[in-house]
Symmetry: C2
Subunit: 329 residues, 2 copies
């Protein structure tokens, strides 16, 4: 099968520019025993991908090698199969990469009931869902009545964290970068939404959390981090999931002074999902439950065509996307 | 009984100056039923006392009120008693404050076998010992074969942390502020000792920990914090005990950017001892065991006379003390 693929051919120099990718056309490899061919229909663009492009071998997963297909998760349909557990037309998800077709085996794709729309798979069940679940329940361990702040709250992970925290009985404060995003956060049940681009972030955080902050789900870094950090309560917990404000810069923002960590006995924990592979199925199942019961809302920002990923990924760093960024192939 | 006391009468303006204290003489209150009078013989000066002088009601314990005796721990002997469990001549420890005599009851003093010298009580069993124990075992949970860095390593807490970590089979790196201190660290079993005043701290830390750092016991903040943070291994743990480099300044040092927290899945935890009161007796007992078995060395820097505390406490912040700072009354 003729397969259009987009390879990473250069490391980005701070921001992502089109010249770091190369689009080519190759033939898919013939299927071996147990393998099946997936035609990708929807491809996820996630902030973590920025890190995978760096030549950084000390990070939590190896970088994408130059010349390799750019790494990403996606949803597709089986179109040819040498595996009876994955017959033609099965809907599957997996790390398919920036390409039309992927040759998979049972350990590189997971069957998904076809009732679940591909957009929901990528928005709620895939990386965003398990990341939100792990950060909230595995790290923050929220208690009813507590206050949580979520930065990057209108993003795919943040919006799930806030909604699940609300279900647990917390007061939920979201920080996002536009009026439209803030309005959506209120619609899906956030108690407070702060627009960091127009509000005085220090004052707005203090005003939204008059009883202080018990849990912070960190997606952004920068001024939001400092404002939340200064308002943490005793025994507060911080889950460090992302630093999207710092991904595309060569001048990382400074962190807050650590005195507050002592005074408030704070616990700060970084986490990444490859460490929790064993728990993925259980977390995915729980997210599917929320979805089926209508307890979780999501919205998608759909780009059209494989090559739209090349420019489109930058929407994640400018905040230009409204909802989970997905490329429809 | 005529009692010389030193009260805190002003909040310090950055550094501690003699005018914030006032020495007076009062009569001790008559003993009520169950009470006993302690003549303090040795008084502890600890970095945490700097925080207690501030008007900071959001911290882990209330500030010393203006006009009150300055708060401190000490060792003394019972000289008058209305409590048969604390007969005259019993050696006791407690939060006696900056004064010659303290009226105590069973809940404010603890009997200590008279075989244990008062210097050892204050250096190993009291606040330094339980703080070192909690930070090492309660927060860092070290594993044999790992590498730990201790800042403020020649201080009362740091020297105990390093020695206990060595007993647990770790590679132990201490950071201190003089050649004399570094030599002493090597004498008591530290594998490496870095003089942050003369060494290039970034290079020295990287060279001392070629396999990276798994545990960091943080007493200082500043450049040492940044150097250690940059060399943390995946799943590293940081116990934040003190920030002595920042106690006497109105310009707190900036913290490191948090990206490394994600990449290395670091856990950073602040702790203070009032939260762990229930565990104090067990920790004290364990420290006494180390002491009796000769597994723990300590050294003291003795000042002479109650009023020597007023100027002497600043040795803790200049690093001028060699060993546990104790005032002998």
């Amino acid at each position: 099968m003729k397969n259009t693929v987009i390879n990473l051919v250069k490391r980005p120099n701070i921001t992502i520019t089109p010249d770091i990718f190369e689009q080519t056309s190759i033939e898919t490899a013939p299927l071996e025993a147990g393998q099946f061919l997936v035609k990708q229909t929807h491809m996820s663009l996630d902030p973590a991908m920025r890190g995978w492009m760096n030549e950084d071998r000390g990070s939590y997963i190896p970088p994408v090698e130059l010349g390799d297909v750019m790494r990403s998760s996606g949803v597709g349909k089986v179109v040819e199969s040498n595996n009876e557990d994955f017959p033609v037309d099965t809907q599957v998800m997996g790390m398919f990469g920036w390409q039309e077709y992927a040759v998979c085996a049972a350990d590189t794709a997971k069957a998904i009931p076809s009732e679940i729309p591909p957009e929901a798979v990528l928005s709620v069940l895939a990386l965003p869902g398990i990341t939100a679940h792990q950060g909230l329940f595995g790290v923050l361990k929220p208690k009813s009545g507590e206050t949580i702040v979520v930065s990057g709250a209108a993003g795919s992970v943040g919006s799930l964290v806030g909604q699940m925290a609300k279900l647990e009985g917390l007061k939920v404060i979201g920080v996002a970068g536009s009026e439209d995003k803030c309005n959506w956060l209120k619609e899906i049940g956030f108690d407070e939404a702060i627009n960091y681009k127009t509000d005085d972030i220090d004052k707005a955080v203090a005003a939204a959390a008059p009883d202080g902050i018990d849990c912070y789900f960190e997606n952004t870094g920068g001024a939001i981090q400092h404002a939340v950090f200064a308002n943490m309560n005793a025994f507060g917990r911080i889950a460090v999931c992302g630093m999207i404000g710092d991904y595309n810069t060569d001048k990382p923002s400074v962190g807050p002074n650590w005195m507050n960590i002592i005074k408030k006995r704070l616990m700060i924990q970084g986490f990444t999902m490859p460490d929790h592979r064993a728990e993925w199925p259980a977390m995915t199942q729980k997210m599917a439950g929320y979805l089926m019961q209508g307890k979780i809302q999501y919205r998608c920002h759909i780009l059209d065509g494989l090559e739209s990923a090349i420019e489109g990924i930058n929407l994640l760093f400018s905040g230009g996307n409204n909802g989970k960024l997905i490329v429809k192939l």
